[in-house]
Amino acid sequence: MSLRLEPREHAPLGLRLLVSLLAGAIALLFVAIPVMAAGANPCEAYVLMAQGAFGSMFALSETLNRATPLILTGLAATVAFRARLWNIGAEGQLYMGALAAVLVGSGFLQLPGPIMIPAIMLAGFLAGGLMMVVPTMLKQRFGADEVVITLLLNFVVILFIQMLIEGPLKDPLSMGWPQSVPLLAEAKFDKLVPRLRTHWGLIIGLVSALLLWLMVKKTVLGFEIKAVGENKPAARFAGIPVDATMLKVALISGGLAGLAGVGEVAGVKGYLSADLSPGFGYSGIVVAMLAGLSPIGSVLAAIFIAAVFVGADSMSRATGISNYLADLVVALSLLCVLVGSFFLRFRLAPANPKVEA
């Protein structure tokens, strides 16, 4: 009996959850092959990974610490992709957010803590947002492709940051390391638990997810973003200001990525360097896709991806298998979820049901 595809009228929540979970599980199954090739037992390797990610307070803290920027870059991709604005530039926006935080928070302004922290967050949000607003305006004015512009801007931004931390922003006390002047103590995020690295950025990420969920579900802006994303001509005809709505989306999307950068500087490193992000911006796209563009789902997906990275590091130390495995898991789960999203739109039905002649 052969099978055929039929379009679905709608995909229930349970099915969408199942697709995301299966995508992660199948990615882990595939990665078992190279693990075996490296001479290790995949079951043991995954148990070690799970222990490395969740096995202790320290492990859990490291995972959540890693998840913090991923939540925000995941939300950045979520809000943009919902409006069919393809923001591939979260990495650059993250760095610009981090740069703005350093510019405002490293002594150029003298502010008390309760004002300083909102100030660097606002600066980071605006800097990241601007990095997405400009490409969106170019798209509206000249029809320039935002995928190409935002993707390539990532490299431009990194070079710009390198120039700054080798030059005007270089920390004179860094013994020659390419890093910026540090943030003032007032500008740094507090840790959530003493002696563990998880910081207030996590709370910012969770609150952002809640706010974004609220915006998507309950607000006029969310309504308008959906209309613009799903059918621009109809939105325009109905009187929704299409260009203005897209610019709001761009500001929010870039801004969230910028906040991720603020969190990394103010919560983890304390200064800006060119290795601030190991691709958090790009992984945010995977987070958003794994979550099916759901803001709340993005939190869970970010924790999953973070756990894979943190767990792989720990497993690597124990078994000697390269921690590049984590990249493999993340890449494969993206591919699996793309395949899975196909099954959210179509169902498999038997092509030749038995029919009485």
Binding site: E9, V220, A227, N231, R236, G239, A351, A357
Partner: protein
């Protein structure tokens, strides 16, 4: 003319989509040399039935059988377009499936031959030319399809089916895209094909053409077989009642009380000067309590007028006034708030967001107004309540206010738009192609609503390519040609011929022409 065994036999076909029964135990036979019309309103199940026959859908119950020589009939495996093609069933869809950048001949051959087929082109051409001579389907085979007219493209589609040795030809709403002259040509071809032994199934919701071309009529209504009759003995009125299941009230228009001008165009120009679809200094007004019909061949500036009244554009020069005040900003929201109701020309494309709910689509124009939102937050309850009431009042057939709008048929999308724009008791109404693609039941409903709004004192502009519709609705005619408007005067003083001449750009009346 007909042999004993049918060419094609459908028995007790049932198809359900969720709780909706699209086809309920439908049976039909098609004989050689016969033109069978499948008549029904939008959503009656005509297209579903044909998609089952062609293998695009799998039926839940019932069988499709085709003649296999002699008196033998074989069962067609469900869900296999390949098997349907092999059995000699050819289908011409409403939306053509041609490769625009290939010639007519290559489109006809496409899919029937292996990739490397040296020297077969000649044989193919000979076969197609033979079919053309036999059928009268005249087409330039060497011209690229994108250079063909709609009528010619349709002929290529039919040739494509015949080239594959179709014994049964299915045409889905074939005249929807044709001019009256082209439709006549198509009917002549179909009669000739039937005379040569082909069986034809003709899907339509237009009574007139069904009576003109078919031998036998099967009427579907809401998925049920409502009746089957021989065309020669059929009565127009009786068929119409069969289709809609109740007597259709014709719209009766009584002259209205003409009030003050609500919309005024004063030497309005918009678009590239000299371009046919641009406006060149047009002046007219729309008055309260009056339906103005804008007649014209499509692409002569109607879209520009619609864009102006919809608030999507402002004049390049000249003035458009609403209630006496010039409109200086392209802002649909302000026009909506000022009481302008707008029905878009392409209702599926511009009228609804398919993936949003029926309720959201009803609220979409006014989502920022206090009735539907507060402090930037959506009042989902109010939106839903309004939708529930509108669905009942405007008879929008849908699973409920939360159903996605893409699941609605064309007629129901138009009812949804009516519910959206008329519920506010608008003062100005733009009805752009208000009934294009709608069945007679839905058409009458839309017309009734438009006349009712006029009687309430609204100024109405109807843009339509259907002269019958314009004559049924309009108090006064404007005719547009190459971006210029002629006021043709009250409808009572006009006939189709006069309007037709004005549409063709002839500014003289027939009398002055004759002299």
């Amino acid at each position: 003319m007909t042999s004993h065994t049918p060419l094609l036999s459908l028995t007790d076909i049932t198809k359900r989509f969720g709780t909706l029964i699209a086809n309920n135990a439908i049976s039909l036979d098609l004989h050689q040399g016969e033109i069978l019309a499948l008549l029904g309103e939008n959503g009656a199940g005509k297209t579903t039935l044909m998609n089952i026959l062609f293998g695009h859908y799998v039926q839940d119950e019932g069988t499709v059988r085709v003649a296999a020589g002699g008196d033998v009939m074989t069962t067609l495996p469900p869900g296999s377009p390949g098997a349907a093609l092999a059995a000699g069933i050819g289908m011409v869809h409403q939306h053509f499936t041609l490769a625009e950048n290939l010639s007519g001949l290559d489109n006809i051959r496409l899919g029937t031959e292996p990739l490397l087929s040296f020297g077969r082109r000649h044989a193919a051409r000979a076969k197609v030319e033979k079919i053309i001579t036999e059928s009268g389907l005249d087409v330039d085979l060497d011209r690229r399809v994108d250079g063909l007219t709609v009528g010619e493209k349709q002929r290529v589609e039919i040739l494509k089916a015949l080239y594959r040795d179709a014994r049964v030809l299915i045409l889905d709403e074939p005249t929807a895209v044709l001019t009256p002259q082209e439709a006549e040509g198509l009917f002549a071809v179909l009669r000739r094909l039937a005379a040569n032994g082909l069986g034809v199934i003709f899907i339509s919701h237009k009574l007139g053409e069904v009576l003109a071309v078919s031998h036998r009529i099967m009427v579907l209504r809401a998925g049920e077989q409502a009746g089957e009759l021989v065309t020669a003995q059929a009565d127009r009125r009786a068929i119409a009642d069969l289709m809609v299941g109740k007597a259709v009230a014709e719209v009766t228009r009584t002259p209205g009380a003409r009030g003050r001008a609500l919309v005024e165009f004063q030497s309005v120009s918009l678009g590239k000067p000299g371009h046919r679809a641009a406006l060149h200094g047009v002046s007219f007004d729309l008055r309260a309590g009056e339906v103005v019909g804008l007649a014209g061949v499509s692409g002569n500036g109607q879209s520009a007028i619609a864009a102006l009244i919809s608030g999507l554009a402002v004049p390049d020069s000249g003035t458009m006034r609403l209630y006496g005040d010039p409109v200086t900003r392209a802002d649909p929201r302000r026009l909506v708030a000022a009481g302008v109701a707008r029905m878009p020309e392409d209702r599926q494309h511009d009228g609804v967001v398919g993936t949003m709910s029926v309720a959201d689509n009803i609220a979409i124009e006014e989502v920022r107004s206090p009735g539907f939102s507060r402090y930037g937050f959506i009042d989902a309850k109010a939106i839903r309540a309004r939708a529930t009431a509108a669905i009942a009042a405007y008879d929008v057939r849908c699973p409920g206010p939360d159903a996605e709008a893409r699941l609605l048929s064309g007629g129901n999308v138009q009812k949804l738009i009516l519910a959206r724009v008329l519920e506010r008791a608008p003062r100005v109404i733009l009805a752009n192609q208000p009934t294009r693609g709608l069945d007679i039941g839905a058409q009458a409903e839309v017309h009734r609503r438009i006349i009712a709004a006029r009687d309430r004192g609204a100024a109405v502009l109807v843009i339509s390519e259907d002269l019958d519709e314009l004559f049924a609705l309009s108090d006064r005619f404007l005719v547009i040609h190459a971006g210029e408007i002629t006021d043709a005067g009250p409808a009572e003083t006009l006939d189709r011929a006069t309007v037709g001449l004005l549409m063709a750009g002839q500014t003289h009346t027939p009398e002055t022409l004759a002299s």
